[in-house]
Amino acid sequence: MLSSPRLLFIAAWLALWLTGCDSGAGHAVTVEFWAMGQEGEQVKALLPEFERRHPGIRVRVQQIPWSAAHEKLLTAHAGDAMPDAFQLGNTWIPEFVALRAIEPLDQRLRGWSEAALADYFPGILATNRLAGQTFALPWYVDTRLFFYRGDLLAAAGFPEPPVTWDGWLRAMAALKAQGGGERYAILLPIDEWQLPVILALQRGATLLRDRDQYGNFRDPRFRDAFTFYLHLFARGLAPPVGNTQMANLYREFASGAFAIYVSGPWNIGEFGRRLPAALQPHWNTAPLPNFTDSLSSPAGKRVETSTVGVSLAGGASLALSRDSPRREAAWLLLEFLAEPEQQARFYQLTGDLPARQLAWNDPALIGNRHAQAFREQLRHLRATPPIPEWERIASRIAYYAELAIRQELSADEALAALDRDVDRILEKRRWLLRRGLVP
């Protein structure tokens, strides 16, 4: 039981603890830097070199989990608690530009040589530019392609990964036929929007129309791609499971429950770590197959083209907070992390693929056979529409795709509903455009 004096003591102690946190750190400028997940963990290893070069600057890294990163950055901005520099997904850039949370970098980039900027993968750099201004520097890149079991594919009669949609379908049918009831050809988490969008972009669809003011999902090209995607499930080539249902993805890939998985660079490291040693020589990566118009080619003869199908220009970028009083110091940190040597070191630490092509000449990266497909894929990228509403639209795509896969809606119903939802989401944007309140 608490007696009153002891209560008072506790209260006083609490008051001290509540107010006494964070007592400044000398006269050095301390740059607050937020990075996510393992990047936040590993980037710390690069910083001693930076702090050696800039003795007056200290960097305090805060690690934020990916799962809550978006909400965290938004609440931080709303609460005036933004860091000086931060990592953000490159699809979030338009949102933070609309919020007026990030500082354009064009002034500062004047000091850069043209070659340095041209060294970024062009498709990636484009996602950091909005209305003629550059708002962030690409840090590492991310795109999606095939992770596949070479042994299973070869056993099904396909020693090389498919390069066209037709070849892909045939390979999947063979995989499925060979594996029997327990095997699926491919794993596509049904609550993701990425693959249907990639397929649509390969098919030549534009996702939104009229300066991104309306949804364009009933367009025949999007519809074609969407139906193709749904077929993968309807024919039993892909299992209708979502992300929350996969407790051990790696174990199931190892057991051959599926042979192809569409995923990003982070899984190079994970597959290397988590798959059994015996399987290591047998898994591989490949660029995505491309859509080829089989109807226009002569009947019976399929034209196998060697072009790579486009994928998404994803990745993470680094930005400066507009309101930060320490932008100068924070910019030095950004420049430092953009150097090809640091990019290469960062790759060694995290396995994140560098945004600068020069860094790809690093022996460690050249020696990684799983990364080579990414290099190829990174030259064939498309960006998603550069508007703040995109994340919401993407979540609607995932939602309706899932409903259509579960056959609760037909493809046409799903796309009509999607267009309707997206038009509503974009209503504010149309109003702002009419008023000239957004560029």
Binding site: S67, T75, A78
Partner: protein, 277 residues
């Protein structure tokens, strides 16, 4: 004889159901404990294991050394402690006033407060966030503490308890010339001790288990509470079942111990709240 058989059967039925209920109620918690002690990967073995093949504490070690769980444990303890201490004062004062003072609109005011309990806290959450931003309290411990400092249910509980205490006691003290605050501090608070303990446990557990508000208010990960940290951990380490279980054990254990130690008061408090409601 028939009667005897009947009694045996009833006893079997009652105890059978009680045992079944106990197993169902405790199984998830016991499995959590067992899984937290398994070597990596064992919790997803098939058929499922109920007990670790070898007991390991590596996940607990990892949580404290690599994942900074000690810090979150401290945050949770101190935040819940602060909310508890402050809210005890605030609520007991108000409950005392509602029970033992006569003033205009007293009953109407009290009824308004009771009716307000129907409003879901979530309604207020968004503007509360913007309000705290105005006060500069986002990403501070105070941002978590302040909204919990006054609690209508707490006021209600104290009032119910004090209603049963005769006024004559207080009047006697007043005759002796004791000031109002002195009466509250030296007489009312000690009288309320049982219900204060109940309320303290309620508040502490509520604050400890609270998830959504700290998640929103605290942006700095060094300030996270255990449940928030655990939810974040889940995002990064969902494949590491055993590690997650160890984190869950550490989150649940303090409140479980507190409950077991003080369950008499806790249960008395629920009964009081329930009966007079």
């Amino acid at each position: 004889m028939n009667n005897f058989l009947h009694r045996i059967l009833s006893a079997l039925l009652v105890y059978g159901l009680l045992m079944l209920g106990t197993v169902l109620a405790l199984a998830p918690l016991l499995w959590m404990l067992a899984a937290s002690l398994m070597p990596p990967g064992e919790a997803t073995d098939y058929p499922p294991r109920l007990w670790p093949s070898t007991v390991t504490f590596e996940h607990y070690a990892a949580l404290f050394t690599r994942l900074d769980l000690g810090r979150y444990l401290l945050n949770s303890t101190l935040l819940a402690g602060a909310v508890t201490v402050i809210s005890l004062f605030v609520n007991s004062m108000a409950g005392y006033a509602f029970a033992k003072f006569r003033f205009r609109y007293r009953d109407r005011l009290f009824r308004i407060l009771l009716a307000a309990m129907v409003i879901p806290a979530q309604v207020a959450m968004l503007p509360l966030f913007l309000l705290l931003k105005q006060f500069g309290l986002i990403n501070t411990y105070w941002g978590v503490i302040i909204p919990g400092m006054a609690n209508i249910f707490g006021i209600f509980l104290i009032r119910q308890y004090l209603l049963a205490i005769p006024d004559s006691l207080l009047d006697a003290a007043r005759m002796d010339g004791a000031g109002e605050f002195r009466i509250y501090w030296a007489l009312v608070l000690p009288l309320c001790r049982p219900i204060l303990v109940t309320l303290a446990i309620f508040t502490f557990m509520g604050a400890w288990n609270d998830f959504m508000w700290p998640l929103i208010v605290l942006t700095d990960s060094s300030m996270y509470t255990l449940p928030v940290a655990l939810a974040n951990l889940l995002g990064e380490h969902v494949q590491d079942t055993e590690l997650m279980m160890a984190g869950s054990v550490l989150t649940v254990l303090p409140v479980l111990l507190l409950f077991v130690a003080l369950q008499k008061y806790y249960i008395a408090g629920i009964m009081l709240g329930g009966m007079k409601g």
